[in-house]
């Protein structure tokens, strides 16, 4: 271990460390712009020049490796003179527009110019001006301010996996720009705003809204995907103005997905429900809380007394907090109903009988970056868990073999070792092939051994099995499509068998912020109640909805809407009106995550609590308080809580330890059937990235991105030709009784007999089952 002396203090540093690392270790700050701990070294800004003994000139700390006995001075006269010289050059072409720059007050260049800049410029010539670039609805540009640190370019290449920005030109003519007029489309693009050390790249929705120093920072957790990214919401006058990442190496590192960063805009959507409302014939009237709650309690009590608890169905969103979900399930069970579920988009619940715990990632999130072997089954991971995909890309870059079994060969922006791309109804068969290949190789596949004997193994499956047999750290991860699959239980059983045989850990990529929490808390039938699928297929007399939009969230959106419309009483606890006035009888405005204290359990079982960042909007109330009052009105025992923390203490007495004790991906007793894949065309109906939950659906900037474009019908070129259809033309999609007219697009990355039609979108809500079969006809 080399010993060095830095600013007079002796330290021991790891071999291969740079002077920048050593300085960080010694608690010394060296000014810098292009250096970033997560990016490759560019050494292009030269701001980190330091004096090193026996070196003829100052050396850049970020790119100089330490050697034993090195003596370094970071603030000596010579070092500071060099740093000041660099600053003078950086300021030559930098505009003096700090007063109108959004970065003002939180700008690295501004801060360092205070320390290293001269009070007057010796440069009297005209400054250069750079044309603005249009990067899309999320990022605003002022390229004249760019100092060419290249962080945004390296971020695209190294982290986002797609080089969307480059630095063409040379010397003074260098400009950061996208290719031609292309917009930035990465689902992680917003991170360049944090990376930009000046005001060249700033947040477009936040532009000219507030100053950094006017905002107070409140810690919170992203309510979207199962990663539970840590973030700070910036608040002024009781309103959330933006969201930025909070470093947490174990979860989101220093990144945020665009979904986490920009969904805050939806908090102030026109569609926010701010007062309780009740239906009065065909009219909706605003009422006070007392009246609304009394009506809900009265109706639920009456229906329970006349039809029994089984007449009531309770559907909750897995994006609701631990506290809310706990009280909701308590309320349901207090009413004598075990009809409660959060898995609206699932279609196969057969595994429930064969498993003891909650489905979780099976390993810590941080380990995703260090895996040697990964098999992703039915996972559109880039869109569903963008930052988990980023970690997997890092693993692949470090040499991991990543294989996929999926219904689409989407670009994961990294090397894929082996792939088996089949239509959804053939997924079980595909996974069975891998199990069979392991069995043929002499491994014990346990309970499934007897039922996979006749499976014919393809080369791709054998290669995937071979890949899983190697490596030390390996995982088999089931994505959203596998979880929503009509034969999800069989996929789970096979995955477990493959995991047992190969030593790979089996995990689930949770689609929602509290998917794991909801399972741990018992927001699913525990005593023979109806699961989400049955609750909607066998309509109930009353429904209690919390945070859900079943017309978009449900596996069969069409059926869900019918069930709700036919019910005698529907109460929706929701932050947004949405389509609820169409089927509900009472609307209770509940607080979104920024307006309530609460906690989420992320995909690795991490319990992350947060406080309310702002006061609830209008008459909105935190859902745990609403449920508490409702529990009291229904005269149910155990609803006396005076804080969210008290609810959490009851729900999870040992906190995270309680969660951990209930995590278990093991499954047994699921019978494997071997039906031939369904005849005809399979629908690949996933939730698009910006349709995941009520918040993102209403976030205007996100809705303007390419990822939020209206759903189209995607089909393989061969299929388009076979059906005599026209690429780019309108086609009628028919699924059972449902139909939609959409534009046909070509995607040869799909299996020939599958058609991708996104679910969770109003335009396709009438179609029915997400993974059903459909037909196409020319209009």
């Amino acid at each position: 271990m080399p010993h060095i002396e830095i600013d007079g203090s002796e330290i021991e540093v790891a071999p291969g460390a740079t002077l920048m690392d050593a300085a960080a270790q010694a608690g010394i700050y060296i000014p810098h712009f292009c250096y970033h701990k997560k990016l490759s070294i560019a050494a292009s800004c030269r701001m980190c020049l330091v004096e090193v003994e026996k070196a003829p000139k100052p050396l850049p700390a970020c790119a100089t490796p330490v050697t034993d006995g090195m003596k370094v001075w970071t603030r000596s006269e010579r070092a500071v003179e060099a740093q000041k010289g660099v600053m003078e050059f950086l300021l030559i072409n930098h505009p003096l527009d700090c007063p109108i720059c959004d970065q003002g007050g939180e700008c690295q260049l501004q801060d360092l110019a205070v320390g290293y800049g001269a009070s007057n410029s010796r440069y009297a010539e005209p400054k250069r001006v750079v044309r603005e670039k249009e990067l899309g609805p999320l990022i605003s540009t002022d390229m004249t301010r760019c100092i060419h640190c290249s962080r945004c370019v390296r971020f695209g290449q190294e982290i986002a996996g797609m080089m969307e920005l480059g630095m063409p030109g040379r010397g003074e003519h260098t400009e950061v720009m996208p290719w031609l007029e292309h917009q930035v489309t990465s689902e992680l693009s917003g991170n360049v705003i944090d990376l930009c050390p000046v005001g060249a790249l700033t947040s477009k929705p936040f532009r000219y809204k507030a100053r950094g120093w006017e905002l107070s920072r409140r810690r919170t957790v992203s309510p979207h995907d199962g990663l539970g990214a840590n973030m700070l919401v910036h608040v002024k006058d009781g309103r959330v103005y933006r969201a930025v990442p909070q470093d947490n190496e174990a979860v989101n590192e220093c990144w945020l997905a665009d979904r986490d960063r920009y969904s805050y805009e939806a908090l102030y959507s026109e569609d926010r429900l701010t007062r309780p409302m009740v239906r009065d014939g065909d009219r909706w009237v605003e009422v006070d809380w007392g009246k609304a709650l009394a009506q809900v309690a009265g109706a639920l009590k009456m229906l329970r007394d006349t039809h029994g608890g089984d007449a009531i169905g309770v559907l909750a969103s897995p994006h609701q907090t631990v506290e809310e979900l706990h009280l909701l399930q308590k309320l349901a069970r207090g009413l004598g109903s075990d009809n409660i579920d959060h898995r609206l988009n699932h279609s196969d619940f057969a595994a429930d009988a064969g498993r003891a715990g909650a489905a979780w990632l099976g390993l810590p999130v941080a380990e995703l970056s260090n895996l040697d072997r990964v098999l992703l089954v039915g996972a559109t991971v880039r869109k569903d868990q963008p930052l988990a995909a980023q970690r997997l890309r890092q693993a692949v870059k470090a040499g991991a073999q990543l294989s996929i079994i999926h219904a689409a060969d989407d670009d994961l922006l990294c090397k894929v070792a082996h792939k088996l791309v089949v239509k959804p109804s053939a997924l079980v068969q595909a996974l069975a092939q891998v199990a069979r290949a392991l069995q043929e190789a002499g491994l014990d596949v346990g309970a499934v051994a007897a039922s996979i004997g006749g499976v014919a193994v393809t080369d791709a499956a054998r290669a995937i099995a071979g890949s899983l047999r190697g490596g030390a750290r390996k995982a088999l991860l089931l994505g959203s499509l596998a979880q929503q699959h009509p034969r999800a239980a069989e996929l789970h059983q096979l995955a477990w068998a493959i995991g047992q045989a190969s030593g790979a850990r089996v995990g689930f990529l949770s689609p929602a912020a509290n998917s794991v929490g909801a399972q741990v808390l018992g927001v699913q039938p525990a005593g023979g109640g109806r699961n989400a699928g049955r609750m909607l297929a066998e309509p109930r007399k009353a429904y209690v909805l919390m945070g859900v939009e079943p017309e978009l969230d449900a596996y069969d959106a069409r059926q869900a809407l019918e069930a709700l419309r036919g019910a005698e009483f529907v109460v929706a606890l929701t932050a947004f009106k949405g389509a609820a006035p169409d089927y509900a009888h009472v609307l209770l405005p509940i607080a979104p995550y920024t307006e309530t204290a609460g906690s989420y359990v992320n995909m690795e079982g991490r319990l992350q609590a947060f406080h309310g960042a702002v006061k609830p909007l209008g008459e909105t109330r935190p859902a745990w308080k609403v449920l508490r009052v409702l529990g009291n009105l229904l005269e149910l025992p155990g609803f006396e809580f005076d804080s969210a923390e008290a609810v959490r203490a009851e729900a999870l007495p040992e906190g995270e330890a309680t969660v951990r004790a209930r995590l278990d991906n093991a499954v047994e007793g699921v019978a494997l059937a071997h039906p031939a894949p369904v005849e005809g065309l399979d629908r690949v109906g996933e939730t698009p990235i910006y349709q995941l939950d009520p918040l993102v659906r209403r976030a205007p900037a996100l809705q303007k991105t390419a990822d939020a474009a209206a759903p189209e019908v995607w089909a393989h070129g061969e299929l388009i030709a076979r059906l005599g259809l026209e690429e780019g033309g309108q086609v009628r999609v028919t699924q059972g009784e449902g139909a939609a007219v959409l534009r046909l697009r070509r995607d040869d990355r799909l299996p020939v007999d599958a058609v991708r039609v996104a679910a969770g979108h109003p335009l396709t809500a009438g179609l029915g089952a997400r993974l059903g079969t459909l037909s196409l006809e020319r209009l």
Partner: protein, 159 residues
């Protein structure tokens, strides 16, 4: 139909073969040179095509094309004459040669004759300072120890 001729693609393939298979993009400079030789200049379509051929982002190929001044990013004449005007050449009379060329062709540096025959460019040191003044024809052939007479001969030979 491909954007480049099979001959050009064969040349590019030969360059690609010099690097490990997963580092195809190392051949970007050679590939752009070959494409420019065929097309005369590098349009965005050509750059995009080359980038795709090498499996790299178009913007990365564009970075290379804009960094080096021997890549032409706008249409230029059939014959590009690049005169070195760095100090050693200037001391040997490059300034006079440049003036002679400008007068004779009726164009300045960076301009093209109306008939599209000649483009005149100001170049940087070409590493043959002992033989100045000198110029480069279409990036490939160098003419040294230029005098007005040899310039006349050179231009007459370029149709």
């Amino acid at each position: 139909m491909t954007l480049l001729t099979p001959e050009s693609l064969a040349q590019i393939d030969r360059e690609i073969a010099k690097y490990p298979a997963e580092h195809k993009q190392s051949a970007v400079m050679a590939a752009l040179r070959i494409a420019q030789t065929e097309k005369g200049w590098l349009s965005t379509e050509t750059i995009e095509y080359v980038a795709e051929y090498l499996g790299m982002p178009a913007i990365a190929a564009y970075e290379v094309a804009t960094f080096y001044n021997m890549y032409e990013l706008s249409p230029c004449g059939r014959h590009k004459i690049t005169v070195c005007t760095n100090l050693p050449c200037q001391l040997q009379g490059a300034g006079d040669i440049a003036e002679y060329l400008k007068k004779k062709l009726g164009i300045g540096f960076g301009e093209t004759t109306p008939d599209g025959r000649f483009t005149l460019k100001e170049g940087e040191c070409m590493g043959t300072c002992g033989s100045g003044p000198l110029c480069l024809h279409n990036n490939h052939k160098m003419y040294t120890r230029l005098t007005p007479q040899t310039v006349d001969q050179l231009l007459d030979g370029l149709k």
